[in-house]
């Protein structure tokens, strides 16, 4: 397969640099993190903050839980033909005290995952559009080989 162009499947949610990060925001008033980014009004009920800085979220965390998708999800999911089941993990970021969902890298199935397992964030194609790879963040077990 030829190397295609690499663009984000969802604009502004993560960086395309190496290594990649999820892009969140942090309230300048109370310090609370938000993902996806918040730039209007702070959602902490004790805070009236309206000013935020963009922050790169921790790119490692521990699996809170995990599963997979055995059935092809409906649109707007763009499915390859034939559909290949994929694993999904909910990952707890320690500094942000936040759980973020995402697909697990291709080639890793649920039998290789465990609650508490350390993982890191990588980019992989969510789907291919013509000659363009639409990239998304995925979780990769730190123990797994590339």
């Amino acid at each position: 397969m030829s190397e295609g162009k690499r663009v984000a499947a969802i604009e502004g949610w993560f960086s395309l640099e190496d290594p990649p990060h999820l892009l969140g925001s942090r309230c300048r008033g109370c310090g609370t993190y938000f993902f996806p980014k918040l730039s209007s009004y702070c959602r902490n009920p004790e805070c009236e903050g309206t000013s935020f800085e963009e922050v790169k979220l921790s790119r490692t965390g521990r699996i809170w839980s995990y599963t997979n998708a055995c059935y092809q999800p409906p649109p707007p999911f763009v499915a390859p033909a034939p559909f290949v089941p994929f694993a999904i993990a909910a990952v707890e970021l320690e500094a942000e005290r936040m759980i973020v969902l995402g697909q697990v890298i291709s080639g890793v199935d649920v039998s290789q995952l465990k609650v508490g397992m350390p993982v890191e964030l990588v980019l992989e194609p969510l789907y291919r559009d013509g000659d363009t790879d639409k990239l998304v963040w995925k979780w990769k077990p730190l123990a797994a080989r590339a």
């Binding site: 609370t32 993902f35 902490n44 005290r97 465990k114």
Partner: protein, 392 residues
């Protein structure tokens, strides 16, 4: 207590995949509830509809739609939407009208006609909507159910056998319910042979989507007395939102709140806590519970959120037989969503219907002995708590 209202009557349209207009199910349920209450439709002063988003404009204005279908008679009208909690909000609106003295008798109705397969998001490219983004990433409703299930397995030693036992229990309950869509007594083997949907959950662990309708007639205690009716009473309706920082992974969100600077809170535990507080009752007072078993495994989570047992003890409670009819605290005596499937605007009302039949001792072969107090638990997408306590 002055905050109570009477449930004069309840009614349902059987759940199924009938493919007819949702208004028919709503009117069928409403007429059944009015007949049960002994209240003529023309005496109803307030109509409270639970909306559906899948049936076009008549669904958005469900209260008026049902009122027109029953025959315009000048009642005041309301429509509530709170996803799966819509029925509780419609009930709360009716109770508020009664308690403030604006009316004495109210009709609450919810009904839906559902498409086949996964519940999908609204059309169009909308990356600012978390519901659109998660489907784009391939994260469907069963993904969330399975995340909770797997966490129970790794943390508390739950097994697929436990989840299967919940399904088999609820199937046995629902087999005795004429309003249930699935009345088959599924066996353990049938559940375990069904297709894997989201590991560890198989097709028969996950609830379907259904057509159906449910209705409730509420009145002031004074109105019930005047009509010499000994009726069960609504002791609490909880419609709380989460509290920041909400630390549970909630459909349809991609991420939880950050608990880095604010204390973390459990939304699901809070919605029942609010109902207990309002009723002045606790889990020890319950005769039965109707809970939101989107997946069989989630029934176990609810045992803990309702305070029926400590965190991590739900599997032991299930294995003891306490939550089956005949046990100490039967859960989902109706058969639950496992036997009904989701008919979004009707399901929170259907739970109330079951409590009322049980408290009146009219539940037939699925009757819970000496039922005095029951609780419902349900949750609507985007932060809608729903818990109702009914007492005899």
């Amino acid at each position: 207590m002055s905050g109570e209202v009477a449930v004069l009557g309840v009614g349902m349209h059987p759940w199924g995949k009938w493919g007819r207009n949702f208004v028919e199910y709503g009117v069928h349920a409403a007429r059944a509830a009015l007949k049960d209450a002994g209240v003529p439709w023309t005496d109803v002063q307030f109509v409270s509809g639970a909306a559906t988003m899948r049936c076009g404009y008549p669904g958005y204005v469900a209260g008026a739609t049902f009122a027109q279908a029953l025959g315009w008679q000048g009642a005041q009208v309301n429509t509530s939407y709170a996803a799966c909690a819509s029925g509780s909000q419609a009930l709360a609106a009716a109770r508020a009208q009664i308690l403030c003295g604006a009316c004495e008798v109210a009709l609450v109705v919810g009904a839906d006609t559902t498409p086949k397969g996964f519940l999908a998001p609204m059309a169009g490219e909308r990356p600012e909507d978390p519901d659109w983004v998660r489907f784009h990433l391939g994260i469907t409703n069963p993904t969330y159910f399975a995340l909770y299930a797997r966490r129970r397995m790794d943390l508390y030693g739950a097994t697929v056998e436990d989840f299967t036992a919940v399904k088999v229990k609820n199937a046995a309950h629902g087999a005795e319910n004429p309003n249930a869509r699935y009345r088959k007594r599924f066996t353990r083997a049938e559940v375990l042979e069904s297709a894997m949907v989201a590991d560890p959950l198989r097709l028969l662990h996950v609830c379907a989507t259904s057509d159906g309708g449910a209705a409730v007639v509420l009145s002031s205690l004074e109105y019930a007395r005047r009509h010499s009716r000994q009726a069960p009473r609504i002791a609490a309706i909880s419609t709380v939102t989460p509290r920041f920082a909400s630390t549970e992974v909630e459909m349809p969100d991609i991420a939880t709140d950050s608990a880095a600077t604010a204390a973390g809170h459990s939304f699901r535990a809070s919605l029942a806590a609010r109902a207990y507080e309002e009723a002045g009752l606790g889990p020890e007072d319950l005769s039965l519970a109707e809970v939101y078993d989107l997946a069989a495994s989630m029934e176990l989570d609810w045992y803990e959120y309702l305070g029926l047992c400590q965190a991590g003890a739900a599997e032991a409670l299930l294995r003891s037989g306490a939550t089956a009819i005949g046990g100490r605290i039967p859960v989902n005596a109706s058969g639950g969503l496992a036997c009904f499937g989701e008919a979004v605007p009707a399901q929170a009302l259907a739970q109330v219907c079951e409590l009322v039949w049980q408290l009146r001792g009219e539940a037939g072969a699925r009757q819970v002995k000496n039922a005095r107090v029951g609780i419902t638990a349900n949750q609507g997408l985007f932060g809608h708590g729903s818990s109702v306590i009914v007492k005899a």
